[in-house]
């Protein structure tokens, strides 16, 4: 039990759209072990995004329980949920969601700002370390619009790991990226996973899902498949096999 990171029991989410009640999630049970790399797949409307919002404590379930790191979070007050989001979860979004006109370093620092008791110096140090992990320490002073899509997503990943969260929640992390950059981002995630991070990724691209260790498929608000990925791909290998192109990172600015 000690290596269970989170577990949901009979978790449901119902929306009222006028008179109609939409059942986005129906009694979903899921256990995630520490060190998992999960890809959640499904067509649009299958409930995977709703499920991700619940896992990320961005939304609350209608019924069911959600326990994260031994803490019951499904009926938590807003203020406490804010702290959970800040310290236990690192988000990576499809369109990066970096603050515009804010340097990469400041963007990475953002979660640290909302945490008590960190000096300016400590924040800088941790943010720089996170940027180094994603290989962007030389872009710390760049604004998002001076970075390529892949670099922006790597800054977002740095922001996700800067608070050393319990798990990383990635929502279509490669949705806005081309193939090569997508694989680059996946290699960063695989590297983080190799370092022991738990990663939950939502994607609708089967070939991106293949980089994960565990594949979960949603349909009509339920998990219809949950299996270990036997023929897992290695992003670094795939990158090496891609035809060489001029490295776009070098032509920035």
């Amino acid at each position: 039990m000690s290596d269970t990171l989170l577990s949901t029991k009979a978790i449901s989410k119902t929306y009222a759209m006028g008179d109609i009640r939409v059942h986005a999630l129906r009694h979903v049970d899921l256990d995630v072990t520490k060190g998992d790399f999960i890809a959640i797949m499904g067509a649009s409307g299958s409930g995977k995004t709703t499920f991700m919002n619940l896992l990320g404590c961005l939304d609350k379930p209608t019924t069911g329980s959600y326990i994260l790191d031994g803490i019951t979070v499904h009926d938590m007050e807003d203020d406490k949920l804010t702290q959970i989001r800040n310290q236990k979860i690192g988000y990576v979004f499809q369109s990066f969601y970096l603050l515009p006109r804010t340097t990469a370093l400041e963007n990475v620092e953002l979660p640290l700002l909302y945490r008590h008791g960190l000096s300016l110096h400590a924040r800088h140090e941790r943010a720089m370390k996170a940027l180094k992990t994603v290989g962007l320490e030389d872009r710390a002073k760049h604004f998002p619009n001076q970075l390529s899509g892949g670099q922006q997503q790597r800054v977002a990943i740095a922001r996700a790991i800067v608070n050393d969260p319990s798990f990383i929640l990635a929502d279509e992390p490669t949705g806005n990226l081309d193939t090569r950059t997508s694989i680059e981002v996946m290699s960063v995630l695989q590297e983080l996973h190799a370092q022991g991070k738990t990663i939950i990724m939502v994607t609708h691209e089967p070939d991106i899902a293949q980089y994960a260790h565990r594949l979960i498929t949603f349909r009509d608000g339920k998990i219809i498949q949950d299996k270990i990925n036997k023929n897992r791909k290695d992003a670094l290998q795939d990158l090496a096999q891609l035809p060489r192109i001029e490295d776009e990172e070098e032509e920035e600015e």
């Binding site: 804010t102 700002l113 008590h116």
Partner: protein, 402 residues
Amino acid sequence: MSVLGILRIALKSLLRNKTRTFLTMLGIIIGVAAVITMLAIGQGAKNIVEEQVNSMGTNVVMVYSNFNRSTVRQAAGEGNLLSVEDVQAIKALDQVLYASPVYNSWGQLKYEGNNWRGSIMGVDADYFFIREMTTSRGDLFYPSDVENGSKICVIGKTVADNLFPDTDPIGKIMRIRNIPFTITGVLTPKGQNVMGQDQDDIVIAPYTTVYQRLLGHRWRVMSIIVSARSRDYIHILQQDILDLLQTRHHGTTAEEFVVSSQTELAETASSVSDTMTILLASIAGISLLVGGIGIMNIMLVSVTERIKEIGIRRAVGAGKRDVLLQFIIEAVAISFLGGLLGIALGVGASEALGNMMNWSVAVTLWSVLLSVGFSMAIGIFFGWYPARKAANLNLIDALRYE
């Protein structure tokens, strides 16, 4: 998160939109500057009025007969006219320091070829002490001159300039209505009074001479001017004089004499300038209010265009309180900084106006504190609504907002 940290975030986001921040601030800058300038002009006017009233002496009491205004015609010399004996009686009162009758007359003034039409005052030597008058050249006249009915006089600067453009008037003989008067002195200039009258266009002579030579009668004392020992007892003194006059003039009512003090005049004058100041400041205050509405407008726009930013901040750990504080601080920072710049502009504008228009202006500390306090209150008041809107956004909607 600490308030200091939120302050940093708020200031950073203001700096990201320098032009817009400045333009929003401009509303407050102009508002505060207008309030300060208007209050400075009002205060300046009030200071002048008070200065002039004080220059007439704050412990001075004027006594008039209401005879001329009475609808009942009475035989000349009868009843309630003031007399020189009244002056003596008033002078005997405890609280009285000086008292002098005042006879007023007009007449043609002549020296060699020069003519001037001037006002002639007949007074006792006490008058100079009451009005705190001195000469710039020559001498005043003395009680002995009054007793003797000497044909001497002192003149104001305006009279001196017009009748004696090239010569020294001291010792010269000037004709008032063809009666020769020797000039003993020229008064120190006093300038205009509160009503805008030239106080230097005056000839002052012993009252005995004036009633004997110019008026031809001695009973119609136009007014009596009295100075009290202390301004604290001025109201008591006024009542004492009124009682005394009623006793001396049997069968008269209190309405037939007017006993007024400079204090009353000062109060009236300063209440007039207070009203004017309030009026001016209110109009300026409206522009400050409009500036505040400008802040609210911009903050609302800012919240709308930063919905996604709010979503991101909330997702990575900003509480509702953090977002609320951030936007309120942004609004207050705009209004506070605008207030400071407004003070600088207001003080500058007051000085410039004072120099250009030759107005008296006085920027007071309380007007500065008032406008800064008011502008910060405006920031909180008009920042509250947009900030609440930002804090209460639905997190998922904010994140998905395009």
